[in-house]
Symmetry: C2
Amino acid sequence: MMARPDENSRAQVLALCGGIGGAKLALGLYRTLAPGHLTVAVNTGDDFTHLGLHVSPDIDTVAYTLAGLNDTERGWGLAGESWHFMEALGRLGGETWFQLGDHDLATHVLRTQRLAAGETLSQVTAALAARLGLHGRLLPMSDDPVRTLVDTDEGRLAFQNYFVAQRCRPRVTAISFAGAKEAKVQEDVLALLADGTLAAIVICPSNPYLSVDPMLAIPGLRAALKASPAPVIAVSPIVAGKAVKGPTAKIMEELGLPVSSRAVAEHYGDLLDGFILDDSDAVETARLGVPTVATRTLMETLEDRERLARSVLNFASGLRRHG
Amino acid sequence: MMARPDENSRAQVLALCGGIGGAKLALGLYRTLAPGHLTVAVNTGDDFTHLGLHVSPDIDTVAYTLAGLNDTERGWGLAGESWHFMEALGRLGGETWFQLGDHDLATHVLRTQRLAAGETLSQVTAALAARLGLHGRLLPMSDDPVRTLVDTDEGRLAFQNYFVAQRCRPRVTAISFAGAKEAKVQEDVLALLADGTLAAIVICPSNPYLSVDPMLAIPGLRAALKASPAPVIAVSPIVAGKAVKGPTAKIMEELGLPVSSRAVAEHYGDLLDGFILDDSDAVETARLGVPTVATRTLMETLEDRERLARSVLNFASGLRRHG
């Protein structure tokens, strides 16, 4: 069936997104949808205060990626970044385990300054997006602090300690989200979910346990996703029994789960109206119990990102018609 | 009379210092005195919070200068500095009127972090000095906030607003030091002033009104300087009726003072046991009423700095013998 790009590109779409992997699809959606039609709600469970600065790694990754400023070779941070601050910090005995580029640092300093002046993270994020020239909306999942904690065989670790300092080496036994139960879902996210014009909700191929679960842990989001008239479609981050990037597969193994797209679909459960997995895993579709598209999900090129985005939008369009 | 460098270089010396001009003599003293024999008490009236960071311009100028890291061509900041953070900040709409280099930024971020963690400015400054490998002591004039305010024909301006943003353009009518009356002199400064082994107190050729007066405005310092057994020697920042650098001459004119070393000596008044002015202004010595050395005070080369430092130390040695 041919896509009808004109129709789909004018749909209002909400993407739930973590960092690097999810941002690839967010970019595809951003480039495929007409300007102003994409809203990305971003995980802030990875946020932390470092050197006195409020760092929001996933918000910045998505913002830089949509703006075309991200470093695609290194895989994170800004292209053309320099590291003079880190060198000087190291000489002065400061903490250097978390790399902050000279350009990136401006984002953290401004964010910290504006938060200290009483702005919400939503306001700060909107200002960042506007300055980067983004025409989509970039929203934190919440303006309240939620912090991902990883229980491991070496004790409980703050997320960045586990992820960056320890390089995901410790064995994960459980994951929790401090503050989630007291947090409120960002209000524009809830408003969009209740909006009848919303055409699709896309759970990007981010780590389900580390990047999407922090969002789902906030009271009311899961119910609002289910209540929304728009279909919820998740894209699996697993390809041929492996994670494309990051610790997803390792964590699934450590949590006693099969490393499969089916396990991801089951994790999201009745939230899903549709599921997209890699065509190499198409054998799994029969037993999923949810409409599933099997297509190439590996996003190596910009064309890959846009093509997958069109698949998502077409899939959603079909689910709406038959919903 | 020949100097006896061995004796003088082993003297304990306290220098009161502002920024760039004063730091030149501080460097001369630092290189002339035996390791560990120089204590520099630095003006913090210029300190301010910028972009949420605690910036201590004079402390950093003195620290960088003594460590040989300062940019002698630009005249301020670190040699080999880069400006990527500022470029990124500008693109994000942040304030760019106060230049913060990428390397310099590490100092401000660490200072802010440590102050927020409860350390005193003295502790933070000592850690910075140690990291830079300095063998002398670097002390803020106080651990309490003192903020220089400049009353001008355009209203009251915070110091950095007057000095950097307005480039000293507005006409000065008065200068005051918010918080000075409630501040306490840094305790090691007071201890050193009461120490019988102190051989000299040097008021460096900093701006008397902007850089030295903030120190003298703190209750007890002036009395402690007078009570100290060590002679107090000021070096004039005026050479041939002009300020070597900065707004000293402009401010003196605006305050209705003659732009002369004599006016500087009279400003310090009975605090002085000795005064050093440029030999081009030697004509003024007769009417000063205080022992005065007329010598070359312009410090263009490193040798100039060391030679002037030796003059100061020899002068102090003579004043002690005849005191």
